[in-house]
């Protein structure tokens, strides 16, 4: 569920608006640390986690907005580099910040009282994320993004506020990445800068691409598959070899060859045409 939320956040900016961001881990980390610190140091109550999670998401959203202002003066690959740099800066800050445990990580984060609460709240946030992003995707705002996705110059000539739409989309995407980060922190109870490295971004990106860039339901389904698959493979009697490391890449390569547009392309699972 958390993976799905992370992927949805990225998919909105990269799939719908075609702005290739590599900063997911940074925004996820901001949401995670913010919510973790707020519950541990200030609120001390698990039922306030939804509130702190939303605050964490807002911090991410704000950071996303600030990053987007200079970034969208640049086009294409530059955005990927800037966002990647941003994620690295965030990671290095947490790595050196003693208040949040620096390299040792941040321990004893407020957790859910039991599994059903964890599932209920995380699930609700996933549904919320999905619904909002899907509605935005098919709205007028989404149409602006699809248009600039294909041809920024033509979109601008039609009166689309291209720069502003991109900034807004980036802010929304960062907000939901941050929300996913908060869910991640409270699920594990422990976070460290090491978990928010580039590998996390790559994971999130793989889910988005596999589900189909621009397909919200695709992201959710791909997240489910990619989360379940290692568990299934682990149960295979393969002796000492870690078969996951073989099956996983083969699966990805097959996918690239057979369906380069991902499981659903930009459509949703229920779209007929």
């Amino acid at each position: 569920m958390i993976n799905a939320m992370m992927a949805l956040g990225l998919n909105f900016i990269t799939g719908v608006a075609n702005q290739f961001s590599l900063g997911s881990a940074g925004f996820i980390a901001l949401g995670a640390y913010t919510s973790a610190v707020l519950t541990k140091e200030f609120f001390h109550a698990w039922y306030l986690i939804p509130l702190t999670a939303l605050i964490g998401a807002s911090v991410s959203g704000l950071a996303g907005y600030l990053v987007s202002i200079p970034s969208f003066r640049l086009k294409g690959d530059y955005l990927a580099i800037v966002t990647m740099g941003f994620a690295e800066i965030v990671r290095v800050i947490f790595l050196n910040w003693n208040y949040v445990g620096a390299a040792r990580g941040y321990n004893g984060i407020m957790k859910w009282p039991d599994f059903s609460w964890a599932y209920f709240v995380t699930g609700s946030f996933l549904i919320l994320t999905f619904t909002i992003l899907y509605h935005l995707k098919i709205s007028c705002f989404g149409r602006n993004l699809w248009a600039l996705n294909e041809d920024e110059i033509a979109a601008e000539v039609m009166g689309t506020p291209v720069a502003r739409s991109k900034r807004t989309a980036f802010m929304i995407s960062s907000f939901f990445s941050g929300l996913a980060g908060a869910m991640y922190a409270h699920h594990l109870g422990y976070i460290s800068p090491g978990s928010f490295g580039f590998l996390m971004t790559v994971n999130v990106l793989i889910i988005s691409v596999l589900g189909g860039l621009g397909s919200m339901s695709g992201s959710v389904i791909a997240a489910a598959i990619l989360t379940a698959l290692p568990e299934v493979l682990r149960s295979l009697p393969t002796g000492d070899i870690d078969i996951r490391m073989i099956v996983f890449p083969i699966l990805l390569i097959l996918m690239m060859i057979l369906r380069p547009q991902g499981l659903f392309g930009r459509k949703e699972i229920w779209d007929t045409k």
């Binding site: 509605h135 602006n144 000539v157 009166g159 045409k273």
Partner: protein
Amino acid sequence: MSDFANNIKNTALLEIKNLNLSFGGIKAVQNVSFDLKENELLGLIGPNGAGKTTVFNMISGFYRADSGDILFQSKNVVKKINDLKPDAVNKIGIARTFQNIRLFGQLSVLDNVQLALQQRAPIAWFDSIFRTKKYLQTELDLKNESLELLKIFSLDVLSNEKASQLSYGLQRKLEIVRALATKPKLLILDEPAAGMNQTETDDLKKLILFIKDHFNLTVLLIEHDMKFVMSICERIVVLNRGEKIADGTPTEIKKNNSVIEAYLGKRSVANV
């Protein structure tokens, strides 16, 4: 008051004054001036590389002129629009098409038009996220208005097709319809007949004359095909190597020596 209003009636809808633009060492546009009266259909012609598209790009906000003024009359006020961004130029009432078609190929025909139309009726996020009554109503209105517009051009039957799936001629047509959907006062068309066969060109001619009347438009048409422009424009401005060399009615232009030279000169080079 009435004096003032009269005064404004006489001024041009679009006025280009001493426009200059260089790319590095190339003087793409030199000291070009012309104007466009309301409801006029003006042709801007010249051999390839004459600077026509560059003038267009300055009007529509993509290039900033090195010097000179672009004045546009909007709501009875004359505004200098040199420094406006493309989306602001569109908002003020100028729409354009491109020499190389630039549709949103993966979007449906309907979406292409609706995108242009919706810029006039921005919807708040709140309404989009919660799909409020107001939102759904606005979407429905936009859709119906788009379909109506498409119907005028018999494109409504193709509204669900991807734009990239249309024939070349229809893509040109759709690009014009999309520009019209932004409700412009001035429509500028960059070589709309390029790559078209004779029947398509004839249809296009009718189409341009029809929309000019039906939507009460002023049209600025770029072409390098003299024959096409001669047959529909009331007045023609000729550019050559970035400079204006003539300005007049088709008959005047046909007799103009420097125009003949510019075109023939090019042909003799091509023949070598």
